[in-house]
Amino acid sequence: MTPLDRSLREGFSLLRQRSGVDPMPALREAAFARFAELGLPTTESEDWKYTSLAALAQMRLEPAEAKADIDEELLRGLWSPPADGSIQVVFVDGHHRPELSSPAWGSGGSFVGSLRAGLARNRDLVACELARHADFRRDALTALNTAFIEDGAFIHLPAGAVLQSPIHLLFLSTVSRGATLSHPRNLIVAGRGSEATVVETYAGPSEATYFTNAVTEVVLDEGARLHHYKLQQESERAFHIALLQVSHGRDSRFTSHSLALGAALARNDVRALFAAEGSECTLNGLYMAAGKQHLDNRTLIDHKSPRCTSRELYKGVLDGNSRGVFSGRVLVREDAQKTDARQINKNLVVSEGAVVDTKPQLEIFADDVKCAHGAAVGELDEDALFYLRSRGLGREAARSLLTYAFASEMVNLIPLAPLRARVRELVTSRLPDRESLREVA
């Protein structure tokens, strides 16, 4: 038994002892049993071929305690609340912090708050949708998250609700005595014709060692639209594993922008299922790794129904001795006629020591479809570097500017100006010559 296994068993029996208040003991037990069967994946599994969790398995992790006091200064360093009065739901070390969050919010039947508050308020809906979309029988990390569900965000948009300003979900980790783990679990249920923008941010101070294992389920009813952003800025010592599972109702739209910058090792899964026809899914992603970081992105778009459109563009920038992984699968099932699917992955390797593995997969079982995919790995263009240097830019400044230029395509795809500015700042802050990129736009 690995130190991680031992940690998890101890953590689970502690959770069981508190079962007096546990609203979902059966789900927990089933999920933990499934995790025990599956075990932590190894590189022998096709899904984890390029990403080894061996270092994680050797870690001794304590469930993150809710801290009595939170260092406000530390929080400000990780997150500055937007000035536009948008709603925020804050979790610190996995625990909901009402004092840092907007008041549990509901107007016209909408709800934005913690999962616990959501259970108290709308038990039937939560019980019906939770763990129905993210399949813990198939996936060990999802099983682990499901076994340890304690809290997370719950968003419910009733039919026709349109929220203009973004909803910010914040998952901050702090420094504890030992390494900690948390399992944030989010549920977003968007009713018929509703629309909202949700930003999930995961962050922690650089000296914090922890493991975040998050799952977000998104359920879109007919005609619903959800714009989802994920900003992964975890500590450089952290492990971050997350699944975003989207279930499309008829004629619904989902857009995802995933920005992966932090963590020692991160694995981000995005899976979209076209459960009914006429829907559109756009998955955009940017991963920027340096040092010894390992950033793995895995996507699955399941065209189960006819007349659906998917667009996917992931870009990676790999520096230092980092490793990037993109593995994107587009599955077009037999009944999914008139599918229109396009997937592109482009990587820029800026150092000798960096490596990227890209694996686009297109599996088509229908005959009347339009599908395309492509993957590219390149280096900085020498002609462009010389051009910039011949105009007076130093070598580092020229490299940074070209790297920014490569990444900026993803930044410019973000329609909301304040968010775009924020992401641009995060992207430039990762480049060696960030000074000269202050005002790039």
Partner: protein, 261 residues
């Protein structure tokens, strides 16, 4: 300053195993415009690239003194700071980087290293707008990415615009006339002429005489097979136009004799 702006002595350069410059000697004084002509493959563009600091070419001999200092010892960005500018034959497209942002960054990098104050966005915009007039660039240029989607003519005008902003002491124009229609050629030539000045030297590299009708050179040099084989005044360019490069090429004649035998 004593001596010429640029003095090249017996410059030799190669790419991989191929020697391309085989002993170039050239002197260009402040205020002068020198044209370098020659057939394709004669080494004209290589000379421009070597002067600008492109490291795909290795210099194997000779020296280049610019304002009395060893130009070849400087990396490309330091040459720019010192006042050397090359207008590219094939300007590079850089999607995602604003044309004006890039140019301001370049200008400020140069000013900073010269110990001059940097220009803020507002001051720069006013300054740049003045210079844009020189090459008839309209306001839409300011909002576009560096050369992205520019026509051939727009790219060349953008090069001259950059030259106007960076205000170099030595400007090397590498086939700035290639691919231009007559209207674009006039615009570019007018821009170049307006930048002629007693304290600036220019080297204009061209395949055709056409540009030299507009930008009248003080001296004309003809390159062939990595060397300057003839130098003269403007008349030389006209003579070449009339008789072709066979006038200065030795080998083709020798080859022709060989074939006749």
């Amino acid at each position: 300053m004593t001596g010429p702006m640029l003095r090249i002595r017996n410059l030799r350069a190669r790419v991989a195993d191929k020697e391309i410059l085989r002993g170039i000697d050239l002197e260009v004084g402040a205020g002068e415009v020198h044209a370098i002509m020659g057939p394709n493959g004669s080494g004209k563009s290589t000379l421009a690239q070597v002067l600008a600091g492109r490291d795909t070419y290795s210099v194997t001999g000779g020296e280049v003194l610019y304002q009395g200092q060893d130009l070849l010892a400087l990396p490309p960005e330091e040459r720019a700071v010192a006042g050397v500018f090359m207008a590219f034959q094939y300007p590079v497209e850089i999607p995602g980087v604003g044309n004006l942002y890039f140019l301001r960054t370049a200008l400020n990098a140069i000013r900073k290293r010269r110990g001059e104050e940097e220009l803020d966005a507002m001051d720069f915009l006013a300054f740049a707008r003045e210079k844009m007039k020189l090459v008839a660039m309209d306001e839409s240029f300011t909002g576009r990415s560096v050369n992205e989607g520019f026509s051939g003519g727009e790219k060349k005008r953008n090069e001259i615009f950059q030259m106007a902003v960076l205000d170099p002491r030595l400007a090397i124009l590498d086939e700035t006339d290639s691919g231009l229609d007559i209207d674009a050629l006039r615009i570019v030539a007018n821009g170049v002429n307006s930048l002629r000045s007693p304290d600036r030297a220019m080297i204009v590299i061209t395949h055709y005489q056409r540009l030299l009708e507009y930008v009248v050179p003080d001296r004309v040099h003809v390159m062939d097979n990595g060397r300057i084989v003839r130098s003269g005044d403007r008349q030389l360019a006209l003579e070449l136009e009339e008789k072709g490069y066979a006038l200065v090429q030795e080998q083709p004649a020798a080859r022709a004799r060989g074939e006749a035998r």
